[in-house]
């Protein structure tokens, strides 16, 4: 599925969170959206998925204008997402969380459930299998029958991705999937994102971890103050002076910190 965002604007009272943003995600492409805190990345995702109603502009999914539709309608078009602040169903089991993704395509009616028809059994098994399949796919460690809130943060991230995948989306929006992961876990996440793309899913990705962004993205869109300041292949964006000025700092993080605080102690 391809996504086209054209001249998107979003304001909260006087505050312009998004100010004429345009970008696109092509078929089976991984596009990263980066930018300083508060640049409007999450807001843009929220507009695309229907959680915010844009003040102006158009959002096209495979050429169809979907701006102003409600989240469940957007989801029905084949878009799934994860949330920056995890939004799992904390009290429900991990499996149930992932089963949520199957809601749209599972063909089961209330009457099947009331009468326990063969179709009911079949769909239930199918849904459970699917949930397990995606949990395996994201490599979840931990109890699948227990409540989601008992999992450590990183595992919860995986469950959220599994849930989105169980939707069988054509476009997946990931909001900081690697936040709170350590180095080796980030590597696993990089791999996971690649594998998702191999399924034929287009991906839009918000991430502050430049290592990951550089490794997986075909294209990087950089926002600042709700506006696009760069759009191109990772290598090109990385060297863009505007991006360095606004976002990356003069050099990549590590030496940056070292420079700022000096190697005084430790």
């Amino acid at each position: 599925m391809n996504l086209e965002v054209a001249d998107l604007r979003l304001s909260f009272g006087g505050l312009l969170a998004i100010d004429g943003l345009s970008f696109g995600v092509g078929e089976n492409e991984i596009v990263s959206v980066i930018g300083p805190n508060g640049a409007g990345k999450t807001s843009a995702f929220n507009c695309v998925t229907g959680f915010y109603r844009p003040t102006a502009g158009r959002i096209l999914l495979d050429g169809q204008d979907v701006s102003g539709r409600r989240p469940e309608q957007i989801a029905a078009m084949g878009v799934a997402r994860t949330f920056q602040n995890l939004r799992l169903f904390g009290e429900l089991s991990v499996l149930d969380n992932v089963r949520a993704g199957t809601h749209l395509w599972s063909r089961q009616r209330a009457i099947d459930a009331l009468l326990h028809t063969p179709r009911f059994r079949r769909t239930e098994n199918e849904v459970t299998d699917e949930a397990h399949r995606w949990l395996d796919f994201v490599g979840l460690r931990g109890d699948r029958a227990g409540p989601a809130r008992a999992l450590p943060y990183g595992e919860q991230r995986r469950v959220e991705i599994a849930r989105a995948l169980a939707r069988r989306p054509s476009l997946l929006l990931l909001d900081e999937p690697a936040a709170g992961l350590n180095h080796s876990e980030k590597a696993e996440m990089t791999d996971l994102i690649r594998r998702i793309r191999e399924l034929g899913i287009s991906i839009a990705l918000i991430e502050h971890d430049m290592g990951l962004v550089m490794e997986v993205s075909e294209r990087v869109v950089v926002l600042n103050f709700g506006r696009e300041i760069a759009d191109g292949p990772p290598e090109q964006v990385r060297r863009d002076p505007q991006v360095i000025e606004a976002y990356l700092g003069r050099d990549a993080e590590d030496s940056e910190i070292a420079e700022i605080i000096g190697d005084g102690h430790g």
Binding site: N37, L151, P152, H183, A187, Y247, E256, I260, G266
Partner: protein
């Protein structure tokens, strides 16, 4: 100033901490590293009184605070900036900061500390009257840290302060931590960004499956092959 020894924590049937021990000395920055689910957050929560340990002791300035309530612990100068930010969503940024100084009786002290946070994190000043819940992820993280500072801690527990921050800001926050530390506040820092954490820390611990597995001066840890492989890459 902080001595944790033999800490055990259970969540229902889950044995999350098994005899975890660590110390933080006066004026130190101590990093706590570990994988997902290793028990870092649990350690901090036990220290700040959010979670009741089933065994072990926690001493702060020589005083046993193992069973003290969070308000008492805060009053003693031990402040915890929790994982997941936990901003009060329908309170304004300013009110969130004021709440950070809930136990500060002297209004003028409170006011000057809040102003100081606005100076250190100017983005918050711009967003002063916005509801905490509507801030961007990174802004919320700044607010959480700022809120912790307003309490005027002697020991600050930070749980993944760099999460969700842009690279430039990560650097700034790390510098901020170093600055506060330079002013005399001890810090126990849980970070996934091990590289950054070990840069500013004096010492570090690695925790695995609820137990401390490695510890030492930050420089040694940075050079330790096991740490390099798992956390630095």
């Amino acid at each position: 100033m902080l001595e944790v020894s033999g800490l055990d924590v259970h969540y229902g049937g889950v044995h999350a901490l098994r005899g975890m021990s660590l110390t933080v000395g006066e004026g130190e920055i101590v990093a706590l590293l570990g994988n997902n689910g290793a028990g870092k957050t649990t350690t901090l929560s036990a220290i700040s009184g959010l979670v009741r340990p089933s065994a072990g002791t926690i001493r702060f300035d020589g005083r046993d605070i193992t069973r003290a309530s969070p308000p008492d612990i805060v009053a003693a100068g031990l402040v915890h900036v929790p994982e997941g930010r936990r901003i009060f969503s329908t309170l304004t940024v300013h009110e969130n900061l004021q709440l950070g100084g809930y136990l500060v009786r002297d209004q003028s002290v409170l006011r000057s500390r809040v102003e100081r946070v606005y100076e250190l994190l100017p983005r918050l000043a711009e967003r002063r009257d916005q509801h905490g819940g509507t801030l961007s992820g990174g802004e919320q993280q700044m607010l959480a840290i700022g809120r912790g500072l307003v309490a005027g801690p002697r020991l600050l527990l930070l749980d993944e302060p760099s999460m969700g921050l842009a690279p430039l800001v990560v650097a700034a926050v790390m510098r901020l931590i170093a600055d506060i530390n330079a002013e005399g506040t001890a810090v126990l820092l849980v970070e996934q960004n091990a590289r950054a954490a070990l840069r500013i820390a004096h010492r570090g611990y690695v925790i695995e499956s609820g137990e401390g597995s490695l510890d030492g001066p930050a420089g040694d840890l940075r050079a330790d092959p096991r740490v390099v492989e798992a956390y630095l890459g």
